[in-house]
Subunit: 330 residues, 2 copies
DNA sequence: TTGAAAGCGGTACCAG
DNA sequence: CTGGTACCGCTTTCAA
């Protein structure tokens, strides 16, 4: 069922059908109603591919996230909300932190399947800069992409990490260890810097305990904590690079019969859903993920519609105190 | 950068460029290499929208899931794997169990944005049947859609529920309660039927405890269990409609100081990721979600390429015994 | 082995 | 207010 078929059924031109759908005010009331009735009766659906080719826009935004974890999906939710408000559609893809898959999504959009890409962190900023093919409109979310001329909506991971560390220090902890995210990852780097900053400021050695870099997984946090517990003296507080690592650490602590929040304090980062659900509920740094996504799509739409691609937007993190941190035992 | 621009740069026709990319064997070695070099040098990317319009196919499959929970995303992972193997791309959308959003996705594909839709359960089978607009090629996953002429890749939820119930009965439980999924939902209905079947077969009254239907959420499972615990005598075992409900139930049990697996047994359904991660690890019925998605996309591709749209595929569930079930206390 | 031209299904300009 | 027509970028006959 094409526009021409509908037109000939009604004895009008294709233009008239098109107008009835796109700019109904241009038609006489009578024709308009006749057309709309027929469109409904025949179940006509405009071919979006043809429209996109003609209009040179798809009204589709791709959101590319590293993994399908609830944390990143929350960003996507924000994008969806903003997309609805602005008449766009949004679709997610995940890369599994695989550089080639990231490029594949860029290719799709560069090939005009979508109007733009919201990159929720990049698996490989260097590859992005080296890209030879067309680069579609990009907005970076969660973290800027160094060297790339794309606006970013992000949080200050460094400051969040300073806040987390200071919370532990304010409770009286002096033997504080850090279990961080993957080596080489931009966000993990910034969080680590924040830890260093705060420790140095307090006159403490940030490298008093070995710096353990692991992937964002419960199991790996658990292993890292195990090795920390073999040290003498063990730390009285641990700052974990994200909530999953923190939960892993807590599991290890529980397993040796110690009590989290009393014997050893643990603070996470992100405030993922499981942070509040876990027992005991996790003290952590909240990242406003949904809001991040929402602002990112608005920025993208601004960019697409030629409005000022402003400066980066930096959203605040906040400390959420629950039950896994407390004063060190006397 | 269009195909014509590349062509004129090289002094050949657009057809030649097209052929170099699609059917290189038709060209002389020399032209082919000249063209491919130029394509690479200029960073030319074919416009997929134009190609789709011409070819009348997008090679894109939409996967529509009710929520972005890890359970459904696992199905999507399977789809992606199969899509890669068959030269398709897959994209997820979620409906939030909102009927209109489900139709919106169907509209997108019916408007030729995609070649087909894999519906991972439907929020409203009735609306699907009543649909007046074009219905795109559909494959149902996880559960058939009653009345719709779409092939399904599914599991036998009824049998899985029978297995779960029998596991509790075999341990010696006689006072067994059921906390199910949302009223009116097809899958929840089937699981409930399985519970009834097994109880009746054992000569027990399936309605000995009130049937509590709640949404798939930890909090709601918790509330349901609380009310069950006020009963005299309380059940010695609970079959939960899915893992989230089960975890909620366990929280309620822990809170009153009882021990799960000893004082009260709990079995879930789905074997979501959190089932094995939870403490104690959850006994549950495993649904082969990834495999389900994989088979669904293969079925879809068969359908699109005109190969026999066979019968439904039914994959087996399996009982996974962990630590939340045990014999009733003497 | 290569080129010219038609056409996929819309939209928008220009006439009338 | 409505119709005719060109064109978006690609693929694929058909002809040379």
């Amino acid at each position: 069922m094409t526009i021409k078929e509908v037109a000939s059924q009604l004895g009008v031109s294709a233009s008239t059908i098109s107008r009835a759908l796109a700019r109904p005010e241009l038609l006489s009331t009578e024709t308009r109603e006749r057309v709309l009735e027929a469109v409904d009766r025949l179940g006509y659906q405009p071919n979006l591919v043809a429209r996109a080719l003609r209009l040179q826009e798809t009204r589709l935004i791709y959101v590319v996230i590293p993994t399908l974890s609830p944390f990143f999906l929350e960003v996507f939710r924000g994008v969806e909300r903003g997309a609805r408000e602005t008449g766009y559609a949004a679709l997610v893809g995940h890369t599994g932190r695989n550089v080639q898959r990231e490029q594949l999504f860029l290719d799709q959009v560069a090939s005009y399947r979508g109007d733009g890409v919201i990159l929720v962190t990049s698996s490989d900023p260097a590859a992005l800069l080296a890209r030879r093919k067309r680069m579609p409109p990009v907005v970076a979310a969660l973290e800027e992409i160094e060297g790339l001329a794309a606006p970013a909506v992000r949080v200050d991971h460094r400051k969040g990490a300073v806040d987390a560390t200071n919370h532990l220090l304010a409770l009286g902890h002096r033997r504080v260890a850090y279990i961080g995210g993957p080596e080489g990852q931009v966000i993990a780097g910034h969080r680590r810097e924040g830890f260093h900053l705060a420790m140095n400021q307090a006159g403490l050695d940030p490298d008093g305990y070995p710096y353990l870099a692991v992937d964002y997984a419960v199991e790996l946090g658990e292993q890292a904590m195990e090795s920390l517990l073999t040290l003498h003296p063990p730390p009285t507080a641990v700052f974990a690079g994200n909530d999953e690592i923190a939960i892993g650490a807590i599991r290890a602590i529980k397993r040796v019969g110690l009590q989290v929040g009393r014997d050893i304090s643990v603070i996470g980062f992100d405030d993922q859903r499981l942070a509040s659900l876990y027992e005991p509920p996790l003290t952590t740094i909240r990242v406003p993920t949904e809001e991040l996504g929402y602002r990112a799509i608005l920025m993208m739409v601004d960019q697409l519609q030629g409005r000022s691609t402003e400066e980066d937007i930096v959203l605040p993190t906040s400390l959420v105190i629950r039950s896994t941190t407390g004063a060190p035992r006397a």
